[in-house]
């Protein structure tokens, strides 16, 4: 039997001279706003995607113009923490080079959209000048490390955050390509042949995601990550972590070999083993992950193809010790808690709702200006949440009034009046920038939420805390498979309606109706809301209700 051929991206990586490719030549090509096809894969490792304005694609084709190519840039920002000074600079960059919006992602990072090729280098330089970079924000490497944003347990949070940041640094690629291409660093002797101690010459078979959760809040949806660390905290002290592996949500319509999968808990490790565990898991995936078929290259498939026992044994072999039995933990929630909360140190944290994570000035809602003004006076930091929201963190008690005045003046106080449905919603970017979108998500969110809310209101369910998520395609960037109600795009105006996840990130939802339009979606939900209103137990969530009543049959339960 001959070995199956490597997937084309593997060859591009291998030929890329440690992620250089022909980016320099591509940037210099004045005839097109795009870069060479192979470079579109390479540039991801530098934190950028080539996109085009899909709203204009067809019109421009007729105009004999190439697509309106532009680049999305994603920062690497473990735990989503930035200073007010950094905020101000990033905001300015969005105006100067981007589409005048800042996008908070579902993994606590910033995205800039609409940067054109000729300004890409200047933009990356400007971002780096803020001491934030974009290395490995995308690509077949470890991605932005998520950390529970919940500020209630300030000291545990600070501790976990520090460990996550260390791990993020540890897993950073060693190539100097980024610095040579974007920051004009001099080439040195090993340029193009740098040793990548963790990754090797072809990096990982696929993206790799790590999240740190601090129970009882599962805002990071830890089981959707390739590798999860669930902090075991005792009396404010982080003892160690339960380690989970094999989570991942992406799927392809109509291809049963691809599916969302929640991670399995492997066991407990003491706190000083975080890096060792990550190294063992990452290198196992590096050596055994599928490099012939990208659709099947995530760790979740490596584990399913070879068996969990094999995987655990391989990791333990690399670690040189065995996992201890998992410690008990409990998650009660995977959303955010809005409004002011007091931290342990006497400072306050304000969690703001940012719809779909898009910070932009609109009529009557000058969010971007408002946050700029807050940044100008804020003495603490900002934290991006995994639910695309924003925490103004560490506010001294005497500053609260000023900040409250600013959020009111700029319409940032929506969290006070928004219903739980709206507060607990996530939408991926989708159209017009995402090349993979099949249907609207972010742009459609306000409208569909309004329509669903109207149904809830009609059934006396106005304040039902239902988690709603929408993605423009089955890749699942809004983690829709963990939504109590989710829409997964299938075509223009058409979605798969997924129902029945819990609101704790521990049970996947299931396909309820395939490929339906808004009318059918609303009609289906209307009937279910009617039953929910009449038949639910006290405090029973919508997803749990649907499972209990057998409306949906659960398919996968994360080990706990």
């Amino acid at each position: 039997m001959s070995t199956p051929a490597l997937s084309p991206v593997e060859i591009i990586k291998a030929d890329s001279r440690r992620l250089r490719g022909t980016l320099v030549e591509s940037l210099a090509d004045a005839v097109t706003g795009s870069i060479a096809e192979a470079d579109t894969h390479v540039i991801k490792f530098h934190g950028s995607y080539q996109q085009d304005d899909r709203d204009r694609r067809d019109e421009r084709r007729l105009q004999k113009l190439e697509p309106d190519y532009q680049f999305m840039i994603r920062t690497r920002l473990p735990g989503g923490v930035v200073t007010p000074q950094q905020w101000l600079r990033l905001d300015e960059i969005a105006t100067t080079y981007g589409n005048a919006s800042l996008r908070l992602t579902s993994r606590q990072a910033f995205q800039f959209h609409g940067v054109i090729k000729t300004e890409l280098k200047t933009t990356l330089q400007a971002i780096n000048a803020t001491l934030i970079d974009t290395v490995a924000a995308c690509g077949d490497v470890n991605r932005n490390v998520m950390v529970a944003a919940n500020p209630l347990q300030s000291s545990a949070h600070a501790d976990v955050y520090a460990q996550a940041t260390q791990l993020s640094e540890f897993l950073r690629p060693h190539t100097r390509a980024y610095y040579e291409i974007w920051l004009d660093e001099e080439k040195v002797a090993d340029s193009g042949e740098e040793v990548e101690p963790i990754y090797g010459a072809t990096y990982l078979p696929r993206k790799f995601k790590i999240g740190f959760a601090i129970p009882p809040v599962n805002d990071v949806d830890v089981f959707s990550n390739d590798l999860g660390f669930i902090a075991i905290v005792d009396d404010g002290e982080v003892l160690g972590y339960n380690v989970s592996a094999g989570g991942g949500l992406g799927a392809t319509h109509g291809d049963a070999n691809t599916y969302p999968r929640l991670a399995d808990v492997l066991g407990f490790v003491p706190r000083d083993k975080v890096i060792a565990v990550a190294q063992a898991v990452v290198t196992t995936q590096r050596d055994f992950g599928n490099r012939t078929e990208r659709k099947r290259a995530r760790l979740k498939y490596t584990i399913d193809d070879r068996g969990l026992e094999w995987f655990k044994a391989e990791v333990e072999k690399r670690l040189g010790f065995a996992f201890a039995p998992a410690r008990p933990f409990r998650f009660d929630h995977n959303g955010d808690r809005f409004g002011w909360t007091e931290g342990e140190n006497g400072n306050w944290h304000l969690t703001l709702h940012i719809e779909a994570g898009r910070i932009v000035d609109r009529d009557g809602a000058s969010h971007r200006t408002g946050l700029r003004e807050i940044a100008a006076i804020h003495g603490g930091e900002f934290r991006l949440t995994p639910n695309q929201n924003l925490i103004v963190a560490n506010v001294a008690p005497d500053q609260r009034a000023r900040i409250d005045a600013l959020i009111a003046a700029h319409g940032l106080d929506g969290y006070r009046v928004a219903t739980p449905l709206r507060l607990n919603s996530i939408a991926c970017v989708a159209l017009p920038t995402c090349a993979l979108a099949m249907a609207e998500a972010e742009r459609y969110l306000p409208e569909i939420l309004g329509k669903i809310q109207a149904l809830l209101d009609a059934h006396g369910l106005r304040d039902a805390p239902i988690h709603f998520r929408i993605s423009g395609c089955p890749n699942g960037c809004s983690r829709p498979y963990l939504g109590e109600i989710a829409l997964v795009g299938k075509g223009p105006g058409r979605y798969n309606l997924m129902l029945g996840a819990d609101a704790r990130g521990q049970r996947l939802n299931v396909l309820h109706r395939e490929n339906i339009d808004e009318g059918d979606i609303l009609q289906t939900l209307d009937g279910l809301f009617e039953r929910y209103a009449a038949e639910r137990d006290e405090r029973e969530g919508f997803g749990d209700f649907l499972v209990r009543r057998g409306v949906v049959v659960e398919r996968n339960q994360a080990t706990s």
Binding site: V31, G33, Q63, D68, G254, G491, G493, R494
Partner: protein, 607 residues
């Protein structure tokens, strides 16, 4: 031997007087051509030419109908978004080739649409996307096929495999649409269409099987027949002139500057229909505009004149409205008209302006007649007005196509003049007329030939084309022509406009030409994309070394576009390049350019 029969047949002279062979043959020929229409005659001439081109011993079989010669290969065309259709098409092509037949595998956007009418044997594998839409790569193909420009396809045999997902309302809609349309255009369906659902292979495998089998049967059994050489271009019709323009059907009127940009540039395609009009790259098209109706109405309103009042002038009698819309120049102001108007308006200010050429010149340039009427009210009677206004003149537009590429069509690149001045919007007569025509309209045109702007006769010469803005138009024709004749010389284009994203005229065509090796170099100057303005003259200087080498190597230089600034700046830049890289004095460099011009190697068409 049969000679250029077509020309003679088309002439008014009796046919036998010109034929160089025995009388009996001549009589047969006369009988043969009697009553044949133009298309039959063209076909016949091509058939004869095809015979003449065959080796002496080849015995061609008689032909049943024009163009019925059988397929020699199978074209497998696919449209695919996520690769399924592509994969199947590739498989089919392999199967066909392994049966010893020749297969041409093409993605829909790589299919030369003009070849469709001569296509004989076509398999299409295509998926449905969006809400029953074609895949991205097939939009152009499907649009063409479903448009009124689609040719009749009586000689085409085909079958379609559609891919889709039955959970969508419009299951396999595109496959069905193409299948039906090909049939409607006269093509013969070889076997039933396949509509493959997500379990693609259950339908695709049998379909591919049939496709391979049918190809093997049909293509092997077809006899070899004579080729028909098309001789359309051999006709020189001087029938259509400036005074007697041809009414050309509009095939396309497409904005080619981005909608979010500032300029409105149109690509306009006209059909030459049965006019017999021919042209060479470098020629222009004369267009007779109709004045903008709202402008005619504004003038009539302002002067309170009756649109229907009958005016006779120079032996022609028409209602005033017709005079103004079809016969008189309304948008270009001339001195005599201003003088006449000043006499009526009796305003010192206007008299003062007319008195000095320094003030009159800019005054004329900036204004249209309506501005004059608004600023300096005066009375006009209908007859005096018609007499005072200049007769309408046609406008010229550089031809942007080669007949060898866009057969029987002519393409133009038109900047739609549309601007605000004196508190009102203004348009240019002809550019607005063209920009507002659609496929229902006809446009009066003629060919204005220009022997001073011709490609080198020696096709191995390099050409340097400098054409910012709409000046790029003739170079589209040049590149098409040079590609069609397989010219060995290299082509170098200098183009400029305000913005890369919105104003890179014909961007995707230049990209494709570069890829195919039909354009060898392109240098761009987008003036407003950076702090300092950059124009073509700057890129010429920057490329001075190579430019001079090309010149020394015998290249021809062409400049087209704006005459007021660009042509002068480009001339100065060329001179500088020659000074710097040729080590010449300024005078010698000027002489060098003069010599190039005298040798017809430095040609300008500026306006």
């Amino acid at each position: 031997m049969l000679g250029r029969l077509d020309v003679h047949i088309m002439s008014a002279e009796p046919i036998h007087t010109l034929i160089p062979f025995p009388d009996d043959k001549a009589a047969m020929l006369a009988r043969l051509v009697e009553g044949l229409d133009r298309a039959n005659l063209h076909w016949l001439s091509g058939y004869a030419a095809g015979l003449a081109a065959q080796p002496a011993n080849a015995e061609p079989e008689p032909i049943a109908a024009p163009g019925a010669e059988a397929a020699t290969h199978v074209t497998v065309l696919y449209g695919s978004q996520t690769g399924n259709a592509k994969r199947l098409a590739e498989k089919l092509a392999r199967q066909i080739e392994s049966a010893g037949l020749s297969a041409r595998l093409l993605r829909a956007d790589a299919y030369p649409l003009r070849e469709l009418k001569s296509e004989r044997f076509l398999y299409i594998v295509i998926s449905t996307q969006g809400d029953g839409d074609p895949p991205e790569d097939s939009r152009g193909f499907v649009e063409f096929l479903t448009s009124k420009r689609a040719p009749t396809l009586d000689n085409l045999k085909f079958s379609v495999l559609g891919l889709g997902d039955s959970s969508y309302a419009k299951f396999c809609a595109v496959g069905m649409q193409i299948d039906a349309r090909l049939k409607e255009l006269g093509a013969t369906r070889l076997f039933e269409r396949g509509d493959a659902d997500l379990d693609i292979d259950s339908v695709a495998t049998p379909w591919l099987q049939s496709a391979a089998t049918v190809a093997r049967e049909q293509i092997k059994s077809a006899p070899v027949r004579a080729n028909v050489t098309p001789l359309w271009a051999a006709r020189t019709a001087a029938t259509w002139t400036r005074e007697r323009p041809f009414s050309a059907d509009v095939l396309a009127n497409q904005r080619i500057s981005a909608t979010n940009g500032t300029k409105d540039i149109r690509h306009i395609e006209l059909s030459l229909g049965d006019s017999g009009l021919v042209y060479e790259p470098g020629d222009s098209i004369g267009v007779w505009p109709t004045n903008p109706p709202h402008l005619v109405a504004d003038i009539l309103d302002t002067l309170k004149l009756d649109p229907q009042s009958i005016v006779t002038h120079a032996d022609e009698t028409l209602p005033l409205e017709r005079w103004l819309s079809d016969k008189r120049e309304l948008t270009r102001l001339a001195r005599p008209l201003v003088v006449a108007h000043a006499a009526r308006a009796r305003q010192g200010e206007l008299d003062g302006i007319v008195a000095s050429p320094e003030s009159l010149q800019p005054f004329l340039k900036d204004r249209q007649f309506i501005d004059l009427l608004r600023a300096y009210p005066a009375n006009w009677d209908a007859a005096s007005l018609v007499a005072a206004l200049n007769p309408l003149t046609p406008r010229l537009y550089s031809i942007a196509s080669s007949l060898k590429f866009a057969e029987n069509e002519v393409h133009l690149t038109v900047a739609h003049l549309d601007y605000d001045a004196f508190g009102h919007s203004h348009v240019g007569a002809a550019s607005h007329f063209l920009a507002t025509r659609d496929e229902e309209n006809r446009i009066p045109i003629y060919v204005e030939s220009n022997d001073r702007f011709r490609l080198p006769r020696d096709a191995s010469r390099d050409v340097i084309m400098i054409g910012p803005g709409t000046g790029v138009a003739p170079f589209r024709a040049f590149v098409q022509e040079r590609a069609a004749i397989g010219a060995r010389g290299r082509n170098w284009l200098f183009f400029g406009n305000p913005h890369f994203r919105s104003d890179f005229l014909y961007q995707i065509e230049w990209q494709a030409a570069l890829k195919r090796g039909e354009l060898h170099k392109i240098d761009l100057a987008f003036s407003r994309d950076q702090a300092e303005k950059v124009y073509v003259q700057h890129t010429l200087r920057r490329r001075g070394r190579a430019l001079f080498d090309w010149l020394e190597g015998g290249a021809h230089v062409y400049v087209c576009g704006d005459a007021t600034h660009m042509a002068k700046d480009v001339h100065a830049a060329l001179r500088e390049v020659i000074v710097e890289h040729g080590g010449k004095s300024v005078e010698d460099a000027e002489a060098y350019l003069s010599q190039l011009a005298a040798d017809r190697r430095y040609c300008r068409d500026v306006y």
